[in-house]
Protein backbone atom coordinates (compact mmCIF):
# COMPACT_ATOMS: atom_id res chain seq x y z
CA UNK A 1 0.00 0.00 0.00
CA UNK A 2 2.79 2.41 0.80
CA UNK A 3 5.38 3.30 -1.77
CA UNK A 4 7.79 4.03 1.06
CA UNK A 5 8.16 0.33 1.61
CA UNK A 6 9.74 -0.11 -1.80
CA UNK A 7 12.09 2.75 -1.14
CA UNK A 8 11.10 4.74 -4.20
CA UNK A 9 10.66 8.52 -4.03
CA UNK A 10 7.07 9.61 -3.49
CA UNK A 11 5.50 11.90 -6.04
CA UNK A 12 3.10 14.59 -4.76
CA UNK A 13 0.26 12.91 -6.64
CA UNK A 14 0.87 9.65 -4.84
CA UNK A 15 1.03 11.40 -1.51
CA UNK A 16 -2.21 13.26 -2.15
CA UNK A 17 -3.89 10.05 -3.22
CA UNK A 18 -2.76 8.29 -0.08
CA UNK A 19 -3.85 11.09 2.23
CA UNK A 20 -7.23 11.15 0.53
CA UNK A 21 -7.59 7.41 1.01
CA UNK A 22 -6.66 7.59 4.66
CA UNK A 23 -8.78 10.65 5.44
CA UNK A 24 -11.87 10.06 3.30
CA UNK A 25 -11.88 6.93 1.19
CA UNK A 26 -11.16 4.33 3.80
CA UNK A 27 -13.58 5.59 6.52
CA UNK A 28 -16.24 6.06 3.87
CA UNK A 29 -15.87 2.49 2.62
CA UNK A 30 -15.82 1.13 6.15
CA UNK A 31 -18.93 3.03 7.16
CA UNK A 32 -20.75 1.88 4.03
CA UNK A 33 -19.93 -1.75 4.74
CA UNK A 34 -20.83 -1.46 8.42
CA UNK A 35 -24.08 0.35 7.70
CA UNK A 36 -25.13 -2.27 5.19
CA UNK A 37 -24.44 -4.86 7.86
CA UNK A 38 -26.53 -2.91 10.38
CA UNK A 39 -29.48 -2.93 8.00
CA UNK A 40 -29.21 -6.72 7.79
CA UNK A 41 -28.88 -7.02 11.57
CA UNK A 42 -31.87 -4.78 12.30
CA UNK A 43 -34.17 -5.83 9.48
CA UNK A 44 -35.77 -8.82 11.29
CA UNK A 45 -36.73 -6.50 14.18
CA UNK A 46 -38.22 -3.96 11.80
CA UNK A 47 -40.07 -6.67 9.92
CA UNK A 48 -41.49 -8.12 13.13
CA UNK A 49 -42.49 -4.70 14.45
CA UNK A 50 -44.04 -3.59 11.16
CA UNK A 51 -46.07 -6.76 10.79
CA UNK A 52 -47.35 -6.54 14.36
CA UNK A 53 -49.23 -3.36 13.37
CA UNK A 54 -50.73 -4.76 10.16
CA UNK A 55 -54.38 -5.73 9.79
CA UNK A 56 -54.74 -9.47 8.95
CA UNK A 57 -55.24 -9.06 5.20
CA UNK A 58 -52.03 -7.05 4.81
CA UNK A 59 -49.77 -9.89 6.00
CA UNK A 60 -50.42 -11.88 2.83
CA UNK A 61 -49.79 -9.07 0.35
CA UNK A 62 -47.61 -9.54 -2.70
CA UNK A 63 -45.36 -7.68 -3.04
CA UNK A 64 -44.80 -7.80 0.72
CA UNK A 65 -44.58 -4.51 2.60
CA UNK A 66 -42.41 -3.85 5.60
CA UNK A 67 -44.68 -1.21 7.09
CA UNK A 68 -48.46 -1.47 7.24
CA UNK A 69 -50.73 0.63 5.01
CA UNK A 70 -53.38 0.90 7.73
CA UNK A 71 -51.78 0.89 11.16
CA UNK A 72 -53.63 -0.94 13.90
CA UNK A 73 -53.03 -1.64 17.58
CA UNK A 74 -55.62 -4.41 17.64
CA UNK A 75 -53.13 -7.29 17.34
CA UNK A 76 -51.64 -6.65 20.76
CA UNK A 77 -54.80 -7.02 22.87
CA UNK A 78 -55.84 -9.96 20.68
CA UNK A 79 -52.52 -11.74 21.25
CA UNK A 80 -52.71 -11.02 24.99
CA UNK A 81 -56.20 -12.51 25.06
CA UNK A 82 -55.17 -15.62 23.17
CA UNK A 83 -52.40 -16.57 25.60
CA UNK A 84 -51.48 -15.37 29.09
CA UNK A 85 -48.22 -13.65 28.18
CA UNK A 86 -48.35 -11.68 31.42
CA UNK A 87 -48.19 -14.93 33.36
CA UNK A 88 -45.39 -16.25 31.15
CA UNK A 89 -43.48 -13.05 31.78
CA UNK A 90 -43.95 -13.46 35.52
CA UNK A 91 -42.80 -17.11 35.33
CA UNK A 92 -39.71 -16.17 33.32
CA UNK A 93 -38.90 -13.38 35.74
CA UNK A 94 -39.33 -15.59 38.81
CA UNK A 95 -37.25 -18.47 37.43
CA UNK A 96 -34.50 -16.19 36.10
CA UNK A 97 -34.32 -14.08 39.26
CA UNK A 98 -34.25 -17.14 41.50
CA UNK A 99 -31.54 -18.77 39.41
CA UNK A 100 -29.54 -15.54 39.39
CA UNK A 101 -29.63 -15.23 43.18
CA UNK A 102 -28.52 -18.83 43.62
CA UNK A 103 -25.69 -18.46 41.11
CA UNK A 104 -24.48 -15.31 42.85
CA UNK A 105 -24.60 -16.92 46.30
CA UNK A 106 -22.83 -20.13 45.27
CA UNK A 107 -20.25 -18.26 43.17
CA UNK A 108 -19.43 -15.92 46.05
CA UNK A 109 -18.95 -18.67 48.58
CA UNK A 110 -17.05 -21.06 46.31
CA UNK A 111 -15.07 -18.20 44.78
CA UNK A 112 -13.99 -17.05 48.23
CA UNK A 113 -12.99 -20.53 49.38
CA UNK A 114 -11.06 -21.32 46.19
CA UNK A 115 -9.57 -17.84 46.04
CA UNK A 116 -8.33 -17.32 49.58
CA UNK A 117 -7.75 -20.71 51.24
CA UNK A 118 -5.37 -23.61 50.99
CA UNK A 119 -6.74 -27.02 51.87
CA UNK A 120 -6.17 -30.61 50.82
CA UNK A 121 -8.09 -31.49 47.66
CA UNK A 122 -8.54 -27.87 46.56
CA UNK A 123 -7.02 -28.32 43.13
CA UNK A 124 -9.01 -31.45 42.41
CA UNK A 125 -12.31 -29.94 43.50
CA UNK A 126 -11.72 -26.84 41.42
CA UNK A 127 -10.88 -28.94 38.37
CA UNK A 128 -14.09 -30.95 38.87
CA UNK A 129 -16.08 -27.70 38.76
CA UNK A 130 -14.37 -26.49 35.60
CA UNK A 131 -14.46 -29.88 33.90
CA UNK A 132 -18.19 -30.28 34.45
CA UNK A 133 -18.67 -27.13 32.37
CA UNK A 134 -17.15 -28.98 29.41
CA UNK A 135 -20.34 -31.02 29.10
CA UNK A 136 -23.11 -29.14 27.34
CA UNK A 137 -26.42 -29.27 29.15
CA UNK A 138 -28.16 -31.05 26.28
CA UNK A 139 -25.95 -34.10 26.73
CA UNK A 140 -27.16 -34.90 30.24
CA UNK A 141 -30.69 -33.53 30.26
CA UNK A 142 -32.26 -37.03 30.16
CA UNK A 143 -30.96 -38.26 33.55
CA UNK A 144 -31.53 -34.81 35.00
CA UNK A 145 -35.13 -35.01 33.86
CA UNK A 146 -35.47 -38.42 35.54
CA UNK A 147 -34.03 -36.99 38.75
CA UNK A 148 -36.48 -34.09 38.67
CA UNK A 149 -39.29 -36.55 38.04
CA UNK A 150 -38.29 -38.60 41.08
CA UNK A 151 -38.25 -35.39 43.15
CA UNK A 152 -41.75 -34.61 41.91
CA UNK A 153 -40.41 -31.37 40.49
CA UNK A 154 -42.03 -31.51 37.04
CA UNK A 155 -44.14 -28.38 36.54
CA UNK A 156 -42.53 -26.58 39.47
CA UNK A 157 -40.50 -23.39 39.47
CA UNK A 158 -37.56 -25.05 41.25
CA UNK A 159 -37.57 -27.84 38.66
CA UNK A 160 -37.52 -25.43 35.73
CA UNK A 161 -34.82 -23.32 37.37
CA UNK A 162 -32.70 -26.32 38.47
CA UNK A 163 -30.02 -26.46 35.73
CA UNK A 164 -29.44 -22.72 36.04
CA UNK A 165 -28.87 -22.65 39.80
CA UNK A 166 -25.10 -23.05 39.54
CA UNK A 167 -22.59 -21.77 37.03
CA UNK A 168 -19.02 -23.00 36.83
CA UNK A 169 -17.98 -19.86 35.05
CA UNK A 170 -19.46 -17.78 37.87
CA UNK A 171 -17.31 -19.61 40.41
CA UNK A 172 -14.28 -19.25 38.17
CA UNK A 173 -14.83 -15.53 37.66
CA UNK A 174 -15.48 -14.87 41.33
CA UNK A 175 -12.38 -16.84 42.31
CA UNK A 176 -10.29 -14.72 39.93
CA UNK A 177 -11.78 -11.56 41.33
CA UNK A 178 -11.33 -12.48 44.99
CA UNK A 179 -7.88 -14.05 44.59
CA UNK A 180 -6.40 -11.15 42.62
CA UNK A 181 -8.64 -8.20 43.46
CA UNK A 182 -8.86 -8.43 47.25
CA UNK A 183 -5.58 -8.29 49.19
CA UNK A 184 -4.81 -11.13 51.62
CA UNK A 185 -3.90 -8.56 54.26
CA UNK A 186 -7.53 -7.50 54.49
CA UNK A 187 -8.66 -11.03 55.25
CA UNK A 188 -5.80 -11.58 57.70
CA UNK A 189 -6.48 -8.33 59.50
CA UNK A 190 -10.08 -9.30 60.05
CA UNK A 191 -8.93 -12.68 61.31
CA UNK A 192 -6.52 -11.07 63.78
CA UNK A 193 -9.45 -9.01 65.02
CA UNK A 194 -11.11 -12.27 65.90
CA UNK A 195 -13.66 -12.49 63.07
CA UNK A 196 -14.81 -15.97 62.17
CA UNK A 197 -14.34 -17.21 58.59
CA UNK A 198 -18.05 -16.83 57.89
CA UNK A 199 -18.02 -13.28 59.23
CA UNK A 200 -15.00 -12.44 57.09
CA UNK A 201 -16.90 -13.74 54.09
CA UNK A 202 -20.08 -11.79 54.78
CA UNK A 203 -18.58 -8.55 56.10
CA UNK A 204 -15.27 -8.21 54.24
CA UNK A 205 -15.46 -10.16 51.00
CA UNK A 206 -19.06 -9.83 49.80
CA UNK A 207 -19.15 -5.99 49.98
CA UNK A 208 -16.02 -5.85 47.79
CA UNK A 209 -17.46 -8.02 45.03
CA UNK A 210 -20.21 -5.81 43.64
CA UNK A 211 -18.76 -5.52 40.14
CA UNK A 212 -18.22 -9.28 39.82
CA UNK A 213 -21.68 -9.89 41.30
CA UNK A 214 -23.15 -7.63 38.64
CA UNK A 215 -21.37 -9.40 35.80
CA UNK A 216 -22.20 -12.88 37.03
CA UNK A 217 -25.78 -11.85 37.74
CA UNK A 218 -26.23 -10.55 34.19
CA UNK A 219 -24.83 -13.76 32.67
CA UNK A 220 -26.90 -16.01 34.93
CA UNK A 221 -30.05 -14.05 34.18
CA UNK A 222 -29.56 -14.16 30.42
CA UNK A 223 -28.83 -17.88 30.58
CA UNK A 224 -32.02 -18.69 32.49
CA UNK A 225 -34.13 -16.24 30.51
CA UNK A 226 -33.20 -17.75 27.17
CA UNK A 227 -33.72 -21.36 28.28
CA UNK A 228 -35.87 -23.29 25.87
CA UNK A 229 -35.44 -27.05 25.68
CA UNK A 230 -35.44 -27.58 29.45
CA UNK A 231 -38.71 -25.69 30.09
CA UNK A 232 -40.09 -27.58 27.08
CA UNK A 233 -39.41 -30.84 28.93
CA UNK A 234 -40.33 -29.65 32.41
CA UNK A 235 -43.44 -27.55 31.87
CA UNK A 236 -46.36 -29.60 30.62
CA UNK A 237 -48.85 -27.41 32.46
CA UNK A 238 -49.55 -24.27 30.45
CA UNK A 239 -49.53 -22.14 33.59
CA UNK A 240 -45.86 -22.99 34.12
CA UNK A 241 -44.67 -21.90 30.66
CA UNK A 242 -41.87 -19.39 30.37
CA UNK A 243 -42.07 -16.67 27.73
CA UNK A 244 -40.10 -18.44 25.01
CA UNK A 245 -41.96 -21.71 25.42
CA UNK A 246 -45.28 -19.90 25.57
CA UNK A 247 -44.51 -18.12 22.33
CA UNK A 248 -43.46 -21.29 20.50
CA UNK A 249 -46.68 -23.02 21.59
CA UNK A 250 -48.62 -19.94 20.51
CA UNK A 251 -46.94 -20.26 17.15
CA UNK A 252 -48.13 -23.80 16.62
CA UNK A 253 -51.68 -22.71 17.44
CA UNK A 254 -51.78 -19.62 15.25
CA UNK A 255 -49.57 -20.73 12.40
CA UNK A 256 -51.13 -18.54 9.77
CA UNK A 257 -52.19 -15.52 11.82
CA UNK A 258 -48.95 -13.79 11.31
CA UNK A 259 -50.08 -10.40 12.58
CA UNK A 260 -50.90 -11.96 15.98
CA UNK A 261 -47.67 -13.96 15.99
CA UNK A 262 -45.64 -10.84 15.39
CA UNK A 263 -47.44 -8.91 18.11
CA UNK A 264 -46.72 -11.78 20.51
CA UNK A 265 -43.10 -11.94 19.33
CA UNK A 266 -42.68 -8.21 19.96
CA UNK A 267 -44.10 -8.65 23.47
CA UNK A 268 -41.53 -11.40 24.05
CA UNK A 269 -38.65 -9.30 22.79
CA UNK A 270 -39.40 -6.02 24.54
CA UNK A 271 -38.28 -6.90 28.10
CA UNK A 272 -34.77 -7.86 26.97
CA UNK A 273 -34.55 -4.86 24.64
CA UNK A 274 -35.45 -2.50 27.47
CA UNK A 275 -32.86 -4.18 29.69
CA UNK A 276 -30.31 -3.82 26.89
CA UNK A 277 -31.03 -0.14 26.37
CA UNK A 278 -30.55 0.56 30.08
CA UNK A 279 -27.64 -1.79 30.79
CA UNK A 280 -26.00 -1.95 27.37
CA UNK A 281 -22.46 -1.27 28.54
CA UNK A 282 -22.67 -3.58 31.56
CA UNK A 283 -24.23 -6.40 29.52
CA UNK A 284 -21.65 -6.22 26.74
CA UNK A 285 -18.79 -6.08 29.23
CA UNK A 286 -20.14 -9.06 31.13
CA UNK A 287 -20.53 -11.12 27.99
CA UNK A 288 -17.03 -10.12 26.90
CA UNK A 289 -15.76 -11.48 30.23
CA UNK A 290 -16.74 -15.01 29.21
CA UNK A 291 -13.66 -14.94 26.98
CA UNK A 292 -11.51 -15.01 30.12
CA UNK A 293 -12.05 -18.71 30.42
CA UNK A 294 -9.75 -19.44 27.48
Amino acid sequence: MSPQAEGRPITPVQRARETWWRRVGMPLTTHTVLLAGCVAMLFPYLWMLGTSFKPPDETMLWPPRVLPIHWTWANYPKAMDAAPFGLYFFNSLLVSAGATLMVIATSLLAGFIFGKYQFPGKRLLFIVILASAMFPFETYMIPLYLTMKSFGWINTYQGIAAPYLIMSFGIFLMRQHIAHGIPDELVDAARVDGASELRIFLRVIVPLCSSAIGAIGILAFIQAWSAFIWPLLMATNKNMFLMELGLSTFQFRFTTEYHLLCAAAVLNTVPMLIAFVILRRRIMESVALTGLKG
Binding site: M1, S2, Q4, A5, H31, L34, G37, M41, P44, W47, M48, M60, L61, P64, L109, I113, Y117, Q118, F119, P120, K122, R123, L130, S132, M134, F135, P136, E138, T139, Y140, M141, I142, P143, Y145, D188, R191, S196, L198, I222, F228, I229, L232, M243, L247, S248, Q251, F252, T255, L261, A264, A265, V266, A275, R280, M284, V287, T290, G291, K293, G294
Partner: protein
Amino acid sequence: MTLDAAPPLSPEGAAGRVSRATTTRRLNRLTLAKYRFCYLGLLPIFAIYWVLRLEPISRTFYLSFHDWHLIRPNRPWVGLTNYRELLDDPNFLMALWNTSLFAVAVVVLSVVVGLALSVLLAGNLRFTAAYQAIYFLPVITPMVPMAIAWKWIFDARIGILNYVLSWFGVSPIGWLTSPGVAIWSIIIMSVWKVLGYNMILLLVGLKNIPATLYEAASIDGAFGWRMFWRITLPLLRPIMLFVIVVSTINAYNVFTQVYVMTQGSQAAPGAQLRVLVFDIYQNGFQFFKMGYASAEAVVLTLIILALTLVQFRVIRVDEG
Protein backbone atom coordinates in the same frame (compact mmCIF):
# COMPACT_ATOMS: atom_id res chain seq x y z
CA MET B 1 -6.49 -21.89 33.96
CA THR B 2 -3.76 -21.74 36.55
CA LEU B 3 -4.29 -22.25 40.21
CA ASP B 4 -2.50 -20.13 42.76
CA ALA B 5 0.98 -21.52 42.97
CA ALA B 6 2.17 -20.01 46.25
CA PRO B 7 0.05 -20.21 49.39
CA PRO B 8 -0.37 -16.85 51.07
CA LEU B 9 2.04 -16.27 53.91
CA SER B 10 0.30 -16.80 57.17
CA PRO B 11 0.78 -13.84 59.50
CA GLU B 12 1.05 -16.19 62.48
CA GLY B 13 4.32 -17.55 61.17
CA ALA B 14 5.94 -14.13 61.26
CA ALA B 15 4.27 -12.72 64.33
CA GLY B 16 4.31 -15.56 66.81
CA ARG B 17 7.99 -16.19 67.32
CA VAL B 18 7.65 -15.87 71.10
CA SER B 19 6.86 -19.42 71.89
CA ARG B 20 7.06 -22.08 69.26
CA ALA B 21 4.76 -24.46 71.10
CA THR B 22 1.89 -21.99 71.45
CA THR B 23 2.33 -20.88 67.86
CA THR B 24 2.02 -24.40 66.54
CA ARG B 25 -1.00 -25.09 68.64
CA ARG B 26 -2.64 -21.81 67.60
CA LEU B 27 -1.74 -22.43 64.00
CA ASN B 28 -3.28 -25.85 64.12
CA ARG B 29 -6.44 -24.61 65.70
CA LEU B 30 -6.70 -21.81 63.16
CA THR B 31 -5.88 -24.09 60.27
CA LEU B 32 -8.47 -26.57 61.43
CA ALA B 33 -11.06 -23.82 61.68
CA LYS B 34 -10.18 -22.76 58.15
CA TYR B 35 -10.42 -26.32 56.83
CA ARG B 36 -13.76 -26.76 58.53
CA PHE B 37 -15.06 -23.58 56.95
CA CYS B 38 -13.79 -24.63 53.50
CA TYR B 39 -15.27 -28.10 53.56
CA LEU B 40 -18.53 -27.05 55.20
CA GLY B 41 -18.90 -24.21 52.70
CA LEU B 42 -18.18 -26.41 49.71
CA LEU B 43 -20.43 -29.20 50.91
CA PRO B 44 -23.77 -27.69 49.78
CA ILE B 45 -22.18 -26.46 46.57
CA PHE B 46 -20.86 -29.88 45.68
CA ALA B 47 -24.15 -31.45 46.71
CA ILE B 48 -25.85 -29.25 44.10
CA TYR B 49 -23.11 -30.06 41.59
CA TRP B 50 -23.59 -33.74 42.24
CA VAL B 51 -27.35 -33.67 41.71
CA LEU B 52 -27.45 -31.24 38.80
CA ARG B 53 -24.23 -31.98 36.91
CA LEU B 54 -21.96 -34.83 37.95
CA GLU B 55 -24.56 -37.52 38.58
CA PRO B 56 -26.57 -36.79 35.38
CA ILE B 57 -23.37 -36.68 33.32
CA SER B 58 -22.28 -40.09 34.55
CA ARG B 59 -25.78 -41.55 34.42
CA THR B 60 -26.03 -40.63 30.73
CA PHE B 61 -23.25 -43.14 30.11
CA TYR B 62 -24.93 -45.71 32.37
CA LEU B 63 -28.31 -45.34 30.65
CA SER B 64 -26.76 -45.67 27.22
CA PHE B 65 -25.84 -49.30 27.98
CA HIS B 66 -29.41 -50.20 28.92
CA ASP B 67 -32.65 -50.78 27.12
CA TRP B 68 -34.18 -48.06 29.26
CA HIS B 69 -37.78 -47.30 28.34
CA LEU B 70 -39.67 -44.74 30.42
CA ILE B 71 -42.82 -46.85 30.61
CA ARG B 72 -41.44 -50.39 30.82
CA PRO B 73 -40.27 -51.39 34.33
CA ASN B 74 -37.77 -53.94 33.02
CA ARG B 75 -34.60 -52.14 31.94
CA PRO B 76 -31.99 -54.76 31.03
CA TRP B 77 -28.30 -54.18 30.36
CA VAL B 78 -27.74 -54.43 26.63
CA GLY B 79 -24.09 -53.53 26.28
CA LEU B 80 -23.33 -51.72 23.06
CA THR B 81 -26.61 -52.60 21.35
CA ASN B 82 -27.89 -49.01 21.44
CA TYR B 83 -24.71 -47.79 19.78
CA ARG B 84 -24.86 -50.53 17.16
CA GLU B 85 -28.45 -49.60 16.37
CA LEU B 86 -27.46 -45.95 16.05
CA LEU B 87 -25.10 -46.83 13.21
CA ASP B 88 -28.05 -48.25 11.25
CA ASP B 89 -30.51 -45.52 12.18
CA PRO B 90 -31.11 -43.28 9.16
CA ASN B 91 -32.61 -40.56 11.35
CA PHE B 92 -29.55 -40.44 13.56
CA LEU B 93 -27.14 -40.49 10.64
CA MET B 94 -29.04 -37.70 8.95
CA ALA B 95 -29.06 -35.71 12.19
CA LEU B 96 -25.34 -36.25 12.60
CA TRP B 97 -24.65 -35.08 9.05
CA ASN B 98 -26.95 -32.05 9.30
CA THR B 99 -25.56 -30.98 12.65
CA SER B 100 -21.97 -31.32 11.48
CA LEU B 101 -22.64 -29.34 8.31
CA PHE B 102 -24.46 -26.73 10.37
CA ALA B 103 -21.62 -26.49 12.88
CA VAL B 104 -18.88 -26.17 10.26
CA ALA B 105 -20.77 -23.52 8.32
CA VAL B 106 -21.83 -21.49 11.36
CA VAL B 107 -18.38 -21.60 12.96
CA VAL B 108 -16.55 -20.64 9.76
CA LEU B 109 -18.97 -17.86 8.80
CA SER B 110 -19.46 -16.39 12.25
CA VAL B 111 -15.75 -16.43 13.08
CA VAL B 112 -14.60 -14.98 9.76
CA VAL B 113 -17.26 -12.27 9.62
CA GLY B 114 -16.91 -11.63 13.35
CA LEU B 115 -13.17 -11.18 12.93
CA ALA B 116 -13.65 -8.80 10.00
CA LEU B 117 -16.16 -6.79 12.02
CA SER B 118 -13.94 -6.58 15.06
CA VAL B 119 -10.97 -5.44 12.97
CA LEU B 120 -13.08 -2.70 11.38
CA LEU B 121 -14.44 -1.63 14.76
CA ALA B 122 -11.17 -1.75 16.67
CA GLY B 123 -9.77 1.28 14.85
CA ASN B 124 -10.49 4.94 15.49
CA LEU B 125 -13.74 4.92 13.60
CA ARG B 126 -16.63 7.13 14.62
CA PHE B 127 -19.83 5.62 16.03
CA THR B 128 -18.06 2.39 17.00
CA ALA B 129 -20.15 2.07 20.18
CA ALA B 130 -23.37 2.28 18.17
CA TYR B 131 -22.16 -0.28 15.63
CA GLN B 132 -21.10 -2.64 18.37
CA ALA B 133 -24.46 -2.37 20.11
CA ILE B 134 -26.36 -3.06 16.89
CA TYR B 135 -24.28 -6.08 15.91
CA PHE B 136 -24.48 -7.37 19.46
CA LEU B 137 -28.25 -6.95 19.82
CA PRO B 138 -29.28 -10.39 18.45
CA VAL B 139 -27.03 -12.13 20.98
CA ILE B 140 -29.24 -11.15 23.89
CA THR B 141 -32.55 -11.13 22.01
CA PRO B 142 -34.59 -14.23 22.82
CA MET B 143 -34.36 -16.91 20.13
CA VAL B 144 -38.01 -17.86 19.64
CA PRO B 145 -39.43 -14.47 18.57
CA MET B 146 -36.53 -13.89 16.20
CA ALA B 147 -36.90 -17.37 14.74
CA ILE B 148 -40.54 -16.52 14.06
CA ALA B 149 -39.57 -13.26 12.35
CA TRP B 150 -36.98 -15.05 10.21
CA LYS B 151 -39.37 -17.86 9.38
CA TRP B 152 -41.64 -15.43 7.55
CA ILE B 153 -38.79 -13.55 5.94
CA PHE B 154 -37.86 -16.92 4.47
CA ASP B 155 -41.43 -17.82 3.51
CA ALA B 156 -41.53 -19.27 0.00
CA ARG B 157 -44.79 -17.65 -1.16
CA ILE B 158 -44.98 -14.27 0.54
CA GLY B 159 -41.54 -13.91 2.14
CA ILE B 160 -39.71 -10.66 1.59
CA LEU B 161 -36.42 -12.40 0.82
CA ASN B 162 -37.86 -14.06 -2.28
CA TYR B 163 -39.41 -10.73 -3.25
CA VAL B 164 -36.08 -8.91 -3.04
CA LEU B 165 -34.43 -11.71 -5.00
CA SER B 166 -37.13 -11.47 -7.66
CA TRP B 167 -35.79 -8.01 -8.55
CA PHE B 168 -32.70 -9.81 -9.76
CA GLY B 169 -34.70 -12.39 -11.66
CA VAL B 170 -34.30 -15.17 -9.12
CA SER B 171 -37.29 -17.47 -9.12
CA PRO B 172 -38.86 -18.24 -5.71
CA ILE B 173 -36.80 -20.48 -3.46
CA GLY B 174 -38.36 -22.71 -0.82
CA TRP B 175 -36.00 -21.45 1.87
CA LEU B 176 -37.49 -23.64 4.57
CA THR B 177 -39.35 -26.23 2.51
CA SER B 178 -36.73 -27.68 0.21
CA PRO B 179 -34.45 -30.08 2.05
CA GLY B 180 -31.09 -28.91 0.74
CA VAL B 181 -31.86 -25.24 1.28
CA ALA B 182 -33.56 -25.33 4.70
CA ILE B 183 -30.32 -25.98 6.52
CA TRP B 184 -28.70 -22.95 4.90
CA SER B 185 -31.60 -20.77 5.98
CA ILE B 186 -31.08 -21.92 9.55
CA ILE B 187 -27.35 -21.31 9.15
CA ILE B 188 -27.92 -17.73 7.97
CA MET B 189 -30.27 -17.07 10.86
CA SER B 190 -27.86 -18.60 13.38
CA VAL B 191 -24.86 -16.65 12.10
CA TRP B 192 -26.96 -13.51 12.44
CA LYS B 193 -27.67 -14.50 16.04
CA VAL B 194 -24.12 -15.34 17.23
CA LEU B 195 -22.05 -12.92 15.17
CA GLY B 196 -22.07 -10.22 17.83
CA TYR B 197 -20.75 -12.58 20.49
CA ASN B 198 -17.67 -13.47 18.44
CA MET B 199 -17.21 -9.81 17.53
CA ILE B 200 -17.20 -8.69 21.18
CA LEU B 201 -14.71 -11.35 22.28
CA LEU B 202 -12.37 -10.71 19.36
CA LEU B 203 -12.56 -6.97 20.02
CA VAL B 204 -11.27 -7.56 23.54
CA GLY B 205 -8.45 -9.62 22.06
CA LEU B 206 -7.59 -6.90 19.55
CA LYS B 207 -7.54 -4.19 22.20
CA ASN B 208 -5.03 -6.24 24.18
CA ILE B 209 -2.49 -6.23 21.35
CA PRO B 210 0.07 -3.55 22.27
CA ALA B 211 0.07 -0.61 19.83
CA THR B 212 3.89 -0.53 20.01
CA LEU B 213 3.99 -3.76 18.01
CA TYR B 214 2.16 -2.09 15.13
CA GLU B 215 4.40 0.98 15.36
CA ALA B 216 7.48 -1.19 15.25
CA ALA B 217 6.12 -3.11 12.29
CA SER B 218 5.27 0.06 10.36
CA ILE B 219 8.83 1.29 10.84
CA ASP B 220 9.95 -1.98 9.32
CA GLY B 221 7.67 -1.25 6.38
CA ALA B 222 4.82 -3.65 7.07
CA PHE B 223 1.33 -2.44 6.22
CA GLY B 224 -2.27 -3.56 5.92
CA TRP B 225 -2.58 -7.23 5.17
CA ARG B 226 0.95 -8.06 6.18
CA MET B 227 0.37 -6.53 9.60
CA PHE B 228 -2.84 -8.49 9.90
CA TRP B 229 -1.19 -11.82 9.07
CA ARG B 230 2.05 -11.24 10.96
CA ILE B 231 0.83 -9.48 14.11
CA THR B 232 -2.92 -9.44 14.54
CA LEU B 233 -3.74 -13.04 13.78
CA PRO B 234 -0.90 -14.70 15.72
CA LEU B 235 -1.54 -12.56 18.80
CA LEU B 236 -5.25 -13.20 18.56
CA ARG B 237 -4.72 -16.94 18.71
CA PRO B 238 -5.78 -17.62 22.32
CA ILE B 239 -9.04 -15.74 21.98
CA MET B 240 -9.61 -17.19 18.49
CA LEU B 241 -9.22 -20.64 19.98
CA PHE B 242 -11.78 -19.84 22.64
CA VAL B 243 -14.23 -18.35 20.15
CA ILE B 244 -13.93 -21.35 17.84
CA VAL B 245 -14.31 -23.88 20.65
CA VAL B 246 -17.36 -22.14 22.11
CA SER B 247 -18.97 -21.63 18.70
CA THR B 248 -18.46 -25.29 17.85
CA ILE B 249 -19.98 -26.51 21.11
CA ASN B 250 -22.96 -24.20 20.77
CA ALA B 251 -23.48 -25.10 17.13
CA TYR B 252 -23.49 -28.82 17.88
CA ASN B 253 -26.25 -28.20 20.41
CA VAL B 254 -28.49 -26.29 18.01
CA PHE B 255 -32.16 -26.88 18.75
CA THR B 256 -34.47 -23.92 19.37
CA GLN B 257 -34.33 -22.22 15.98
CA VAL B 258 -34.67 -25.56 14.19
CA TYR B 259 -37.62 -26.50 16.38
CA VAL B 260 -39.37 -23.19 15.74
CA MET B 261 -38.52 -22.67 12.08
CA THR B 262 -38.83 -26.11 10.53
CA GLN B 263 -42.08 -27.24 12.11
CA GLY B 264 -45.54 -26.10 11.18
CA SER B 265 -47.33 -25.29 7.97
CA GLN B 266 -44.86 -23.32 5.90
CA ALA B 267 -41.86 -25.41 6.91
CA ALA B 268 -40.23 -28.65 5.96
CA PRO B 269 -42.54 -31.63 6.37
CA GLY B 270 -41.27 -34.62 8.32
CA ALA B 271 -37.66 -35.29 9.04
CA GLN B 272 -36.09 -33.00 6.52
CA LEU B 273 -34.16 -30.92 8.96
CA ARG B 274 -33.18 -33.19 11.78
CA VAL B 275 -30.42 -32.17 14.18
CA LEU B 276 -28.86 -34.21 16.97
CA VAL B 277 -30.53 -32.53 19.93
CA PHE B 278 -33.88 -32.77 18.19
CA ASP B 279 -33.30 -36.48 17.60
CA ILE B 280 -32.35 -36.94 21.27
CA TYR B 281 -35.46 -35.01 22.28
CA GLN B 282 -37.68 -37.08 20.03
CA ASN B 283 -36.29 -40.49 20.99
CA GLY B 284 -36.18 -39.66 24.68
CA PHE B 285 -39.30 -37.63 25.25
CA GLN B 286 -41.67 -38.57 22.45
CA PHE B 287 -40.79 -42.26 22.01
CA PHE B 288 -39.55 -42.62 25.65
CA LYS B 289 -36.50 -44.61 24.49
CA MET B 290 -34.28 -43.01 27.11
CA GLY B 291 -31.47 -45.54 26.87
CA TYR B 292 -31.25 -45.09 23.14
CA ALA B 293 -31.44 -41.31 23.43
CA SER B 294 -28.70 -41.43 26.06
CA ALA B 295 -26.46 -43.32 23.64
CA GLU B 296 -27.01 -40.47 21.18
CA ALA B 297 -26.18 -37.97 23.93
CA VAL B 298 -22.96 -39.86 24.64
CA VAL B 299 -22.02 -39.70 20.97
CA LEU B 300 -22.70 -35.95 21.02
CA THR B 301 -20.55 -35.58 24.15
CA LEU B 302 -17.69 -37.53 22.61
CA ILE B 303 -17.85 -35.49 19.39
CA ILE B 304 -17.71 -32.24 21.33
CA LEU B 305 -14.86 -33.38 23.58
CA ALA B 306 -12.90 -34.70 20.59
CA LEU B 307 -13.39 -31.50 18.60
CA THR B 308 -12.34 -29.38 21.57
CA LEU B 309 -9.16 -31.43 21.97
CA VAL B 310 -8.37 -31.25 18.26
CA GLN B 311 -8.92 -27.51 18.20
CA PHE B 312 -6.61 -27.09 21.18
CA ARG B 313 -3.97 -29.12 19.35
CA VAL B 314 -4.25 -27.33 16.03
CA ILE B 315 -4.47 -23.78 17.34
CA ARG B 316 -1.80 -24.35 19.92
CA VAL B 317 -1.45 -21.52 22.39
CA ASP B 318 1.94 -20.96 23.93
CA GLU B 319 1.96 -20.98 27.69
CA GLY B 320 2.32 -17.72 29.55
